[in-house]
Symmetry: C2
Subunit: 268 residues, 2 copies
């Protein structure tokens, strides 16, 4: 059995202490450098395999500081503070000694409490009835995903600007792979930039900082399996080179697994 | 003229290199330790007064790792990477050598681009017609703010649970003070925990990680002056000790100045 591109991409080898080594290959190439989601997942992976890790991720912020090239990189994952049931991490990715990415993560041992979900899953036709996104308009990394737009797709051939930045899509890994915190992290960055959607044309754009909030428990990830997740994304404001994007990701049974919030550079 | 509590609270003295020293006083006391917003503003302040700072804040993530006590603390603000027009910071607050708070910040020199705001300000009665929050239900730090709930207030005397976590409020500093990035940061954390609003009763609760996205330009901050900002907040999901909260803050003329996203610990 061939290894999944995703598992190969986030693979890290322990070097010593908090230091891990990885290699960037072409499988998740974006316009410049790799898909941000795979970088975020790789930084999370360093904590997931760290022998001092406590619990599961509750929040993760990844800051994209500079371009990452194909080849070797290191990740240093430092537990900044460990409490009884919570843990704070600082993570730095470097290439040739230069910082390319920084991140902070909050992990916790979670216990049952009062629980409720206020944000319902939007209604959408089933994934099977929606066409996959046309490959000719997508960067290379999208080949690792099955993305099906329900609303707010991207078609630069028509280039008809839209009044709203809202998109709704089904998304899962291609080939199918069981959901875990690492793959959910990457999926959390799988929307095209909102400015592409508004203007229906590509332009220089890239995430500078993304924050992921993990609502999902391990049990909910297992329940989701390798099914399509339904996801929505929208920008609140774009101004002076930066636009925000808030996105929500639901399991097929309507459980909100993840929210992601990012600031995205654009030039237009 | 007496110094404003806010300016006194975020005051830092350069020690050497990236290190700054401050003192926590009682003026922003919360249930345990200080109001998270004042801590976030103080960490941002270290970057704002750092001689190597480039541009203005675009995003800031603050992770509350452990309690902060009254007295001296240090803040180490390290520029992790500086590009032509962007800069990434890592910030650590320590007390008696122990990490209490970590943060990352992204700063940029911003230029005019295509711009639009999708998220309109909700309609609300003018601040002058709304009653200030009753002081008997609020922690000490709230005395530094004029908070007026339009929707979703907090009244544990009635203790009637609500079906929605949504709150809308007017907020400004008391006494009035001209808005800047530091005060906007603190205001970004000025909502009570969503679990208080749902259950209308206090419980153990505290922010573990907050991300602020700065849409505001310097000019827009000056235009806002010391006026009330209109703000809304809502949780998407609460489960196993953690609930999220997304909040938006508009200038009196309807410009979205800031969004904040946090994960909040609760026990209930």
């Amino acid at each position: 059995m061939t290894k999944h591109n995703f598992d190969e991409a986030i693979q890290l080898a322990p070097v010593e202490g908090n230091l891990f080594a990885g290699v960037l290959t072409e499988s998740y190439n974006n316009m410049v450098g790799p898909f941000g989601g795979i970088t975020a997942a790789t930084l999370l992976q360093a904590v997931m395999i760290h022998p001092e890790r406590l619990g599961t991720p509750v929040s993760l912020t990844v800051n994209f500081a500079g371009p990452l090239s194909l080849g070797e990189f290191t990740i240093e994952a430092t537990p900044m503070r460990t409490n009884n049931s919570t843990q704070h991490w600082f993570i730095v990715q470097r290439q040739d000694g230069v910082v390319t990415t920084t991140a902070s993560a909050f992990f916790a041992l979670r216990k049952d409490t009062w629980a409720e979900q206020e944000l319902a899953m939007p209604s959408a036709p089933s994934a099977e009835t929606v066409a996959p996104v046309a490959a000719r308009f997508t960067p290379h990394w999208v080949e690792n995903y099955d993305i099906r737009f329900v609303e707010g797709g991207f078609d630069p051939a028509k280039a008809e600007p839209r009044d709203s930045s809202r998109s709704v899509m089904w998304v899962r890994e291609k080939p199918e792979r069981l959901l875990d915190f690492q793959s959910l992290t990457a999926i959390g960055d799988s929307f095209f930039p909102r400015m592409f959607i508004r203007h229906q044309t590509p332009m220089p754009a890239g995430t500078v900082s993304i924050t992921l909030q993990f609502h999902a428990t391990q049990t909910e990830l297992q329940e989701a399996g390798s099914a399509f997740l339904l996801a929505s994304a929208q920008a609140n404001r774009a101004q002076q080179n930066y636009a925000d994007q808030t996105a929500h990701f639901w399991s097929p049974t309507g459980k909100l697994l993840l929210t992601s919030h990012q600031m995205v550079y654009f030039k237009h």
